[in-house]
């Protein structure tokens, strides 16, 4: 089942996707499937173990199911100072 989600990229993922955000029709059921869909699209250098995902402004598990209209943000750790 396809649903429309809004995705935002943060830090190094933004650099690699070369966009700030996008709206996507996806058949991915959860955040994990969505990340692998996006990784094959953008060749992300980070994977699930070095990233966090937030849906609708809350950090959550990669197994969290996606719903129509969700706002999904992928966030790597940031350490510069």
């Amino acid at each position: 089942m396809y649903k429309k989600v809004k995705i935002e990229y943060f830090a190094v993922l933004r650099e690699q996707a070369k966009i700030n955000s996008e709206e996507l029709e996806t058949s991915s059921a959860d955040a994990r499937e969505l990340l692998s869909e996006l990784t094959s699209k953008y060749n992300f250098s980070l994977n699930e173990s070095t990233l966090k995902v937030a849906i609708n402004e809350e950090y959550c598990e990669f197994t969290t199911k996606l719903n129509e209209g969700d706002r999904v943000v992928f966030i790597p750790p940031v350490a510069g100072g």
């Binding site: 809350e58 940031v78 350490a79 510069g80 100072g81």
Partner: protein, 328 residues
Amino acid sequence: MNTRYERQMILPEVGDTGQEKLRNSKVLVIGAGGLGAPVLQYLAAAGVGHIGICDHDKVDLSNLHRQILFTSKDLGQSKAYVAKKFLNQLNEDCQVSSFEFRINYKNIEEVMSNYDLVIDCTDNFQSKFLIHDACFLFKKKLVQGSIYQFEGQIQCFDFNHSDSSPCLRCLWPEVPTPGCVSNCQEAGVLGIVSGVFGSLQCNEAIKMILEMEVLDQGSTLTLNLKNLSQRIIKWKKSKDCPLCSLGPSIRKISESHKLTEFEVLEKKGHFTEVDLREDPSFDAKEADPNKEYLFFCQRGIRSLHFVKELRELGLKNTYSLFGGVDGK
């Protein structure tokens, strides 16, 4: 009214009592670089009574585009020392101490001991987690900041008051590997970006001192200075957190060590103990599969090797005491 501070003391949020709180506050800034520069200047200008500056580094020409405490004349000098001199000239009301060494697990307790609030302006995960864990264990307030190119994030913690709120380890149980995301040196940074995030950190710190509302503990403020998009993202307290849960594995500041599956932190009653210092000749064939064996030695190294060998022989019910007898 003290003329130096009159423009902030007019604010109902400050007044005489707020200015007194600032004068009595003790703030430690770790990292006198891009984030630290505005933090230190605004703390001193606002009349914070005691400021500590910790940085092991020396001023380099490539720092000057963002570390605006320093001038071309300061090249090669200790950052903490130059910053202290700068603050002394800016405001003689502030008592400033400099710590011209790198913060580590041995010195952090002593460095932090005279301060109530810590502002983390460091640029690497090891330091950030060390400072975070120490602030939790020694019950300090903490404002964290970090940047990546045009973006950054800040977090606030009040470990002196909040037992029910999440800590950073609830979100990141383990320190991310340094190689997984590049720092300013590799990724590049515009000077003003560190200026904006340092200023945001200092704003939160000053509000904390004045007991005003600050960013909720357990939330990250992310801000992208390219398109000015901003988010506050929350995380939850984890019952498995290695630091703030009921059975934490991190109970003191020590060299970062990850317990392997072969190790336990303490002797518990149900273990059959084997002291390898007395009897190194344990016979695996005679081991009782219904018992759990705990091996220990002086420092936990020999016993760890021993248990690894036993596990390879198929003895799953064997453990090594981490740190050995010395670690207790």
